[in-house]
Symmetry: D3
């Protein structure tokens, strides 16, 4: 299958991190294609930036429509995930959702490690949107300026491990999610230094996309994810307008 | 004060309904200005359409930045509300949020009357985002094709009243919200035919905007609605880019 | 409109604080009248004291029935609010409810600053009754003996500001409520020393009363706030008995 | 032990029903004394009437202070229960709370059968106050005028049984509470016509009061049920003022 | 009545502690019989150990079927409680459930003191199963190796009291449960050193069993605790197979 | 990888259904081995039967320890899932949990179709244990006697489809789970007759087991799923005793 992975941030250095981690868990017959948002910000930390990211992802999803068998929204917080699930005929997977649903099968209480204080409000609302707030042990976060999203792992690796230990010891986390695309791959490299299973959003996303594709469930024709009702529209780019077609 | 009311739909007929109702509750010193989304759909019923609407509202909010003292997002579901609250220095009010917070002061259990089945999933998530699901008696909805958003009141008025009665008798609603900008003004005209208080999103929005403006609270400098962290961006329209400035 | 503001405590010094803050946000055509409970305690901190306060407010509300267009219960915890909403034909507003519904439009997570440890249990249950516990970031409180309810602001101002800062930094509050009628007006005077919007119960209550009056919704004829069923009663004061009449 | 049972309604016919059921489960060494509210209404259905009832119960509790080893508030909805628990040194039990905690040990989902539509809003909030809303299968209710609270069982017995059956079959109740003091004793007489255990508030209350007395836990000196803080009061009857003393 | 108390652990020293506390609150006509699990572990701290304990309790319950009027599962966490409630015709009571329902009538927020860190995950899920998570102030725990379940009280008494004080002061507990059968009787002996009521699971269980027996509600014939549907079974011990009979 | 699938029921006809569906989604390098409970009942509908099933699964898991890379508990309700997750070093997957986490990525509100009324109470508690009650649209169920668990699909197929349609139209389900091992494979065969995606517990379980294996997270050394504390045990079968070893 062809899996289109879209980075909703404009940072190609992060796109590279995502791709490297994605390839580590891709099955032999999974073809990975990467895309990076053409508009938006360097790394999403807020609801407003997520709106920009969602719009950019939707644009790409529309432009490449028909060229992929599944789509992975590759920013924690899943900008545009539920929105695209309404308009695409293929599985749409998000890093946060996939990480949560994976982590939920490894422990009862889930701790999240985040890259900034500001980002935690958005993450918490995201967990809540999926109805998983009751499973959340807590969100711990870095609290220092970020030089570059592409170098957070090397700049702050030790601190992230320390936060992880505190999430287990103080928050009662059974399982951890290292959150944010800039941390893609970190779970793998630090796993043996942490006392509980550690989940990576990117590899969870790829594995969940592979699982959903294999299960091959049908597209919704009714309910809250059926095709959009036909109605007038205006002023949309070609990519976005394509997503409104009901063909 | 200058209150900018933005219709996130492209329907100018609905903008007119909104304006008429808004003027009925505006205080003498409230100057109302209307704007209609330049891109998007005729009436938002889904998460994806709300994403388009949020983007269009943000564009207008940015372009006119500095020209209004408060902004009202005038579609039920509040596309872009929390996002804009992060980036604007003035109060930002939403029809759903304002209607819920108003209704909550008139009764304990709130019933919502909606214009289509499809729209209910989005509304329910919106109520949930505000933490008010425990107050929701239920959402009842029209279930017939909609000819034109500007004529729903005349086309379906009797049915909307019947749904309202059932929300009280069967769902236990103490207070009702007639939801959706296409219903602007209906609460006023049918109030004497309904057994509980009826709340209109537009007039609630105007009154809450007036209340917030009078209270004159300060803009957040910390927490989840502080100004956005400074960082690189790309590919954004002038209106949107303006909203990222931290001046 | 005539707004009757009732202090459920017997402290006239607090009544004066309430009146001063109320007049600051009253519209030109809002006539404010004050009343102080004739029975009860100096300042309510517990459920039992709130029962006394509720009874005293009801007595006043009945005695002056017909002489006001809206009533504001001016103690945090809203003693008698839902009860009076059942029996009065005019809007009834409470300091806590109004503050919460206002704060909810300024931030997602709400912090409350209280005047004593003991009072926090009652406040928490009050927030819960309104279904807003999911929005509560936390309640922080003074923990020293209170000399006089009328001088808490000057006696403990610095400590209240410190608690406010901790509510933002440690509890993640986006917006704060300085709770309790003895703190009326403090939000206004300390706003520029706090990093998030600060809400005052009294001025929120006045503004919400003005909003509800302007919206002019009808009185409930059905549901949980309809007029009381007719039935025998005995042993009630004239004020209370008046409230049971169904005229 | 001496158990004071207070009917918060003014109906002595209901007091008799309560007493008869209470005596059926009283242990040999339990002395039951009855009291009837001197002020209030014939039967409480609303929050406002519950306020009147709570006040009347408090008055009696204060007047007879020192003459009982436990107190049972004998109206469903428990008017004054938490309030009195703050000020009395002996166990205070409520019909609703006792019935819920008893029923919770007989089944996972609890159905409540009530005597009027109006009363259900108050009951639901009461269940919520005890944190048991997640255990509630539903509340079903009579919907006809009530001739006399003392004759509801004979007037509406068949309908109450029918409602009970529907609560099991349609709401999934594992256990039922026949709610309201006017139904005291009914559970016993109809038990063999119902397919699940049926709980009576009065006998549950007596048995829980006996259990709490036997356990002989200490009175709270800290937390939300410690003695009230000392402070000025005014205008209270002797019974109420007694409850404020800290001796 | 005959009350069978089953210790789901294999520790007879703990059985002795349980029996001593049980006899202190047993009524004159309550005959207590003790049983100790023949298989399982020394003290249950985990879900897996609770499964072993539940199986062992069920075996005993089946073997002695018909010889008791009520059964008390005497390990905190209530292994097998809901399961046995489905198959036995007599009241089945659990230490945790009984303690929670008792504590709920003594305070609004309940603190639990536990004997190890590991045990807290299981306890928390148990509180959640009963829908009481909203009433939980917190769980505090010993964090040292346990020499012998029969000597925890003497080995760690001072620390348990310290944890209790912190639960009141820091978690806001109104009432405490000293959890775990190894702590049976401790609440009684330390009550005068603690500032809030303290509940013991064993004595709560005995008192609740006595209350339920006196109320004499009928066995469920419908709903989630009706007799099991008839169907083939295989490979079960005589005790277990007896519980499947529908006679 | 070697995936051991254990049927906690004694029905080998159901084991065959499970195996057939499992093989349809197994990857080329997944070796499936089946096991059937040696003790228990024909099909689990109740908590008590689930206890028997959990015990039987644990016995098998212990006996074959070291011979599989992942284990799938193949009865809806997941008997023994969390318990085994504590004691095994490999991923343990449950049909319900896997189906829920899969369905959650296909729609927001999940409907469950069950094979009997009695089973629904157990299912509901299972959904609650995973914190997913807020995502549950409802549980609909067959209500007729079941001839044989192996023939439910042919006996009741039309009715199951009808229930599915009602779950979408009346409960607002976006996605459905056909629950219970006896329905293994049905989702696949009826997918084109249903308007929303349909999830099968067995194939979801296999795909999630494959995903978890590929992600290769480490075994918990801390938290609520760490190895069991060492302590005395007695009376256990060899299989069960093996699971207590800490080697």
């Amino acid at each position: 299958m062809k899996l289109l992975i879209v980075n909703p941030n404009i940072s190609s250095s992060v796109t590279n991190l995502i791709e490297a981690e994605a390839r580590r868990v891709a099955l032999a017959d999974t073809q990975i294609e990467m895309a990076t948002a053409a508009s938006g910000v360097a790394y999403i930390e807020t609801r407003f930036e997520a709106l920009l990211g969602a719009h950019a992802v939707a644009h790409i999803a529309g432009e490449r429509k028909g060229q992929y068998d599944a789509l992975l929204v590759a920013a924690f917080g899943d900008p545009g995930l539920l929105e695209l699930r309404e308009v695409l005929d293929v599985p749409v997977v998000g890093m946060t959702e996939a990480a949560l649903m994976t982590a939920a099968q490894l422990g009862q209480r889930i701790g999240i490690i985040a890259i900034s204080r500001r980002i935690t409000a958005w993450y918490r609302e995201c967990v809540d949107r999926y109805g998983m707030l009751g499973r959340l042990a807590g969100i711990r976060h870095l609290d220092r300026p970020l030089r570059d999203p592409g170098t957070i792992q090397e700049d702050h690796g030790a601190h992230l491990i320390e936060l992880s230990h505190r999430a287990v010891a103080e928050d009662g986390a059974d399982v951890l999610i290292l959150a944010g695309a800039p941390l893609a791959g970190l779970a793998r490299s630090v796993a043996d230094r942490l006392p509980v299973p550690v989940v990576d959003g990117v590899s969870s996303g790829v594995c969940q996309a592979q699982a959903l594709t294999r299960l091959a469930t049908a597209r919704a024709q009714a309910g809250g994810f059926a095709k959009l009702p036909a109605k007038p529209n205006a002023g949309l780019s070609g990519g976005l307008a394509t997503l409104l077609l009901r063909e």
